[in-house]
């Protein structure tokens, strides 16, 4: 396995997750249930786009073909994106948005915590910075799950419904392939298997505090890593990339 190629691949996996989830959250700007929450969701979106820019820029440097963050975000076809299907799922109602966020942010928390010990200096610094942001994302979404679960009868039902919908998408976050194995051996990548139990335990704790039920397992989402996305992905990119692709010669 070529280390440079593996590292590029590893970086765009991280960057694409942040970009697509950041995009989903950005769709909610001016649509929050209350102004304070509008601001909070935009904050998380901004953090994720910040992470995305950092890591895609680095990916371009690692690749060494002169591609910058925008080349990678705007001029890659769908099948070259590596986002997990969880990030692509529509916002649904506020409970669904928070369930998606919580499943992702708790993962992100453990992930960045480990990545901050990476032998790759850039990845380690990036992870340390992102970890701080992610702690807020995790707290924010967990608190909402608890509030909605233990709020009114209606919110309890809706929160359970949102959680059920998103639940089985979390497994994809822990998928491992040759790229991971190679970089784990070099002390660059994170072995996510190490914290799967802690992750599951933390989810159970939040769900229990929210007086909700652990959902039944449904279809275990997979495919993002080989470019087999959800049907939503094509539409996301059609919007996201539209202007940049319509005027490829323009500088903005």
């Amino acid at each position: 396995m070529n280390t440079k190629k593996a590292l590029f691949e590893y970086c765009i996996r991280i960057g694409d997750n942040s970009m697509i989830l950041g995009h989903r959250l950005s769709e909610l700007c001016s649509r929050g249930p209350i102004l304070e929450e509008d601001i909070a969701i935009t904050n998380i979106s901004l953090d994720l786009f910040g992470q995305c820019r950092n890591i895609l820029t680095y990916a371009g440097e690692v690749e060494g073909k002169g591609r910058n963050e925008d080349d990678l975000a705007y001029h890659r076809p769908e099948h070259e994106f590596r986002s997990v299907l969880l990030t692509e799922q529509p916002n649904g109602h506020f409970g669904t948005t928070m369930a998606r966020q919580m499943l992702f942010s708790v993962f992100h928390y453990y992930f960045y915590k480990e990545l901050s010990k990476s032998n790759d200096v850039h990845l380690a610094a990036f992870a340390a910075k992102s970890l701080k942001e992610t702690m807020y994302h995790m707290r924010h979404s967990s608190e909402w799950i608890i509030r909605l679960g233990d709020g009114t009868e209606e919110s309890h039902e809706k929160m359970q419904e949102g959680l059920n919908k998103m639940w089985s998408y979390r497994h994809e976050l822990f998928e491992k392939d040759a790229v991971d194995e190679h970089l784990i051996e070099l002390g660059i990548a994170v072995d996510t298997a190490k914290f799967k139990d802690a992750y599951e335990k933390q989810l159970e704790e939040i769900i229990s505090r929210a007086t909700l039920e652990i959902p039944e397992e449904g279809w275990r989402a997979t495919g993002g890593r080989i470019g087999h996305h959800s049907e939503y992905m094509g539409h996301i990119l059609a919007v996201f990339q539209s202007l940049a692709r319509a005027y490829p010669d323009a500088k903005w």
Partner: protein
């Protein structure tokens, strides 16, 4: 007669340029005027998120996207800050939003126009935030303390927005022919509605009377509009764009620009709800508000439960 004395003391305080604070006595009319003006201002910040929000998902670079998102988030922050200032006058946010939804409260008509190409993100920042600043700089000296302090804070961010908008415009104007077309077209569409932001001519402006005496308003609509024109026309020239007003001419004697007449019939139509996006903007806001009700209810219910748990413990 006690009121007469209070009124005199109130006016004397204003004349000494001291700020009126929420706990101070104030005439009912003063309170009413402020609630109307501050809430209109707050609603404008919040409704104004929509026309710019229209381009977030299509922003042409990641940098442009985060700049735009952060800008819109600032506007939400302004709205929040102003709602809080209005609340100090004894009205709740829920009431304020009801007034918005029923049409009783207004917001700036500029946001009832659509954003049709990316250059609009430049034109809105440059012209709309630019016009807002002229107004708000003047309002920093307004007599009501919370409003005045809010303006000081908000103005700093608005001038940042204005510069960012101008930067987008400048980039577009010296970009590809297509980009230049977008830039000029955006200026053509937004110029006149931006001038309308200052309101009717002084002679036709019914709310100015007491507002000047009470120093809620410090400069008249026409004075503010002229300031805006004088600083903006040259900025357009610098980047090679043309303001869509054939009567715009430098007047050497007056030391200011003469300009053509605003289409007041169109202006009044949009104020009365008959603009291109009035229905869309309100519907968007109502929908988010209605769909968020169960979330707000849940937060309240949860907080109550926690409260009573604490009391038991």
């Amino acid at each position: 007669m006690e009121d007469v004395e209070r009124l005199e003391a109130f006016q004397a305080k204003i004349d000494r340029e001291e700020k009126i604070e929420p706990k101070d006595w104030m005439p009912a009319e003063y309170r009413k005027h402020l609630i109307r003006q501050i809430s209109q201002h707050a609603h404008s910040e919040v409704i104004g998120m929509q026309p710019e929000g229209n381009w977030i998902t299509r922003a042409p670079s990641l940098r442009a996207k985060v700049v735009l998102l952060a800008k819109i988030q600032d506007e939400a922050g302004h709205g929040l800050y102003l709602y809080c200032a209005a609340e100090t006058l004894g009205i709740s946010r829920e009431e304020l939003l009801e007034q918005l939804h029923s049409g009783k409260a207004k917001y700036s008509s500029i946001f009832n126009y659509p954003t049709l190409n990316w250059a609009d993100m430049g034109a809105v920042g440059w012209l709309v935030d630019g016009a807002a600043i002229v107004n708000q700089v003047s309002l920093q000296r307004t007599s009501f303390g919370p409003y005045s302090r809010g303006m000081v804070r908000i103005c700093k961010e608005e001038s940042f927005h204005q510069r960012q908008g101008y930067e987008i415009m400048a980039t577009m104007a010296k970009g590809t022919p297509e980009q230049k077309r977008m830039a000029q077209e955006a200026l053509d569409r937004i110029w006149w509605p931006a001038l309308g932001m200052f309101g009717p001519h002084d002679k036709d402006s019914p709310n100015t009377g007491n507002a000047m005496k009470w120093k809620i308003k410090r400069e008249t609509n026409d004075e503010l509009r002229q300031k805006f024109i004088d600083k903006t026309v040259q900025q357009a020239e610098v980047i090679g764009l043309t303001v869509p007003d054939p009567d715009m001419k430098w007047n050497e004697d007056k030391g200011q620009y003469d300009h053509g007449e605003i289409d007041w019939e169109e202006f009044m139509n949009v104020v009365r709800g008959k603009g291109p996006c009035n229905a869309q903007r309100l519907e968007h806001h109502k929908k988010a508000h209605d769909e968020g009700r169960w979330v707000r209810d849940a937060a309240t219910a949860y907080a109550k439960k926690q409260q009573s748990k604490k009391q038991v413990a």
